[in-house]
Amino acid sequence: DASELRVGYSSDAVTLDPANHRSRVTEGIILNMYDALLARTDDMRVVPELAESWSQINPTTYEFKLRRGVRFHSGDEMTADDVKYTYDRLTKPNAMGGQTSPRQSLVGPLKDTEIVDKYTVRFVLREPWPIFTAYVPFNQIVSKSFTEKVGTPAMATQANGTGPFKLVEWRRGDAVILERFAVYYGGSPDLPPVGPARVDRVIFKIIPETASRVAALLAGEVDIIDELPHHAIKQLQANPRTKVLATNGTRSFFMPLNNTRPPFNDKRVRQAANHAVDRKLVIDRILSGLAVPLDGIISPQSYGFNANLKNYDYSTDKAKRLLAEAGHPNGIDVTLDVDNPFKDQAEALAQMLTRAGIRTKVQIWERTAMADLWKNPQTNGRDMTFQSWGDGALDPVGIFVPVLRTKDRGNYSGYGNPEVDKLLDAANTETDTAKRSAMYQQAQAIVNDEAPLIFLWLPQDVYGASARLKGWQPSPRGVIKLHEAAVD
């Protein structure tokens, strides 16, 4: 009797082509069919996967030795040809049937991929990029012959990877059905158990509505659900047939304050705002305690995390005092922009801010429109918003830089500090890990003091699972890889 594992998943993949999307949920499905040269462990170490080993030859050259005898689902062996083809597809403009891969930026300043021999490839960068290997796990290897045969458009709906599962059928909008790949090479030796997948079949069932997903789990229709709402935790815990699984997330939450205009162009007001929110209460009550409060935006698990930041304790008095110092003894009136999914948290926070004299009105926006508005804090005339930023690489470059470097793509607060910028730019090309870490820590300290944002928390990713699920732990990367999962 074939064992089958079903996942209640909140969104469908947009494509099955590993090189043609920038969607984390899509990647979560694709990862079960495609492996990359390197993988990440749950404690976020980078370990070999399709590569046997790698080495950095010079600051701009990396050499990877490939595992031998690894087969694609089609039966062809994976060789250096496939790796070069995969990386060329990612790097070269118009390499995918006239389209350019949207994942191009994930290979950084990669200039060329060279085949050394059948099982050896070399990556040559234009400039040093210390985190190159941290990004290698994001790029799954495709088969050259297969891709050339079917063409890029067909890659969207067909799959031929080296991963633990092969595609049976993708019912768009409904389900992705996978089947164990019997001659799987076993996966990364650093990620036990090694060997073929333990279940015969995996089905990702697409259930976008949260309540329905929980219901499906309760009904025994699925074994894992993602994005478990916090209010459902108690019920699942109480139910003998279900359990709750959590892992440290990689997505930090914070509230950008508009540093470019009053009242938040005054550091004291920003600090007051940080004192005004009772992060612990929100975490306890709304997030079921499954989050850690932050005094910055970087995860404690992350490389370069500064553990010695000043803590903004919850104190209405301090907040009021700071406000008064800043010339607002009667408080201030501000608006908080938020999109619907975070309405609850925003409203709770707004109430706290209001109690501390920062009278906050919440305004709900459609997510995209809000993002558009906050792209230009200098001119948008808004006060504050609610933002989160995720980075699976757990490196400051993926979160700290876009959010806090002057005018970077996620900098909604309009914060700009030449000193911070200098540190960040230097860290970007610094190959000495310790030095680099120190730079980031210093930058964090500055930002912590200047408080361009209200620092909030880093929630855990919460999953619901059936009691019969064995061997699977959620990954901090936020993907569901079911290689090791089993069911009773």
Binding site: V14, S23, L106, P153, R172, I206, P208, A369
Partner: protein
């Protein structure tokens, strides 16, 4: 007369479709948001790369030009590539059509199967208890939000009684060779009763959610029309001829009363064919509605435009079909 009328209909379709295309385009153009930013999210990207993507999507051209390019291509049946799926928009849309059609037909069936008998009975027993109960029922039907009712059904039938599945169209291993792509029919064609049962079980709750709401409206319409029909002289004359009650109600009155029912059913069916994103979301039904709504939020312009045009054309065709049905029901109506 009919070919002429058909030609006229098609001619009328032109300004309507054009108008809809314009509105859809203007609406999307005026909506803030940049598909490129949405696609890349917080993920690592460089300005050059964003510009390249923007160029890929044709977004670097002025809106007016984009509109005419879209129009020109659309005329030749090319609606472009969906931004996110990076596949032809029509492929992406058409994949979702069978599910939507199946759900719509099922809902229509449920609606008609409840509305017509109830409407007739309510009209015959005017102001009786059945009539009142049906009135209350239909008010419930129109005032209960679908997402709420849907989740209620799930709690009852899937979680508590565990007799029906929460989501999806059919289970694994129950697939049948696609012919019509309507699973109920295909499973019958394949002679697979287990598949048929599975497809049916998946279909019941979403179809009920939509069908009862639609049935509520149709019931009222049928009842009103039936009351109207029963007041006609031809009913008295039919009685004077000594016809049986069943014949009078079932043939003489009902055939005339069905006209407004058909009209409303056509309109409602039309809007269901556009996909009902709420029910699709709640029941994980892989239909059009969710796809289009997601596309709006993701500023997936080509998909939204193509879907809206497709919907409009369907809507017009449905109304035409309803008109044809009128002539069958009442020969007085001429096309």
């Amino acid at each position: 007369m009919t070919p002429l009328k058909l030609a006229e209909r098609i001619l009328q379709l032109v300004p309507v479709l054009l108008g809809i295309a314009v509105i859809a385009f203007v609406m999307m153009a005026l909506t803030p948001g940049d598909p490129v930013e949405i696609m890349l999210g917080d993920a690592r990207s460089t300005p050059e790369q964003r510009d390249a993507l923007r160029h890929d999507m044709g977004l670097d051209r002025p809106p007016l030009e984009r509109f005419f390019v879209f129009l020109g291509n659309a005329l030749s049946g090319d609606f472009g590539l969906s931004f996110f799926h990076r596949r032809p928009v029509m492929d992406v849309i058409l994949e979702r059509v069978p599910a939507t059609v199946e759900l719509t037909l099922a809902a229509l069936f449920i609606a008609l199967a409840t509305a017509i008998p109830l409407g007739v009975l309510a009209a015959v027993r005017r102001n009786g208890w059945l009539d009142r109960a049906a009135t209350i029922g239909s008010l419930l039907g129109v005032s209960l939000p679908g997402f709420w009712f849907g989740i209620l059904l799930i709690m009852l039938f899937a979680v508590h009684l565990q007799v029906l599945p929460v989501s999806g169209r059919i289970g694994f291993g129950q697939e049948v060779p696609p012919v019509t792509r309507l699973l109920l029919i295909d499973s019958l064609i394949a002679g697979r009763l287990d598949s048929f049962a599975a497809a049916l079980r998946h279909l019941i709750m979403p179809a009920l959610t939509l069908g009862l709401a639609m049935g509520a409206i149709l019931m009222r319409v049928t009842r009103t029309a039936m009351v109207e029909a029963l007041a006609q002289d031809y009913i008295v004359f039919a009685e004077a001829k000594g016809l049986s009650r069943a014949r009078i109600l079932g043939r003489h009155a009902l055939k005339n009363a069905l006209i407004p029912t058909v009209t409303v059913a056509a309109i409602e069916t039309g809007s269901l064919l556009g996909g009902n994103m709420i029910v699709e979301t709640v029941f994980g039904w892989p239909g059009l509605g969710r796809l289009v709504v997601e596309a709006i939020f993701a500023r997936n312009y080509p998909l939204v435009q193509a879907a809206v045009l497709l919907y409009a054309a369907t809507y017009v065709m449905l109304n035409f079909a309803a008109d044809l049905l009128y002539t069958a029901l009442n020969p007085r109506v001429r096309l």
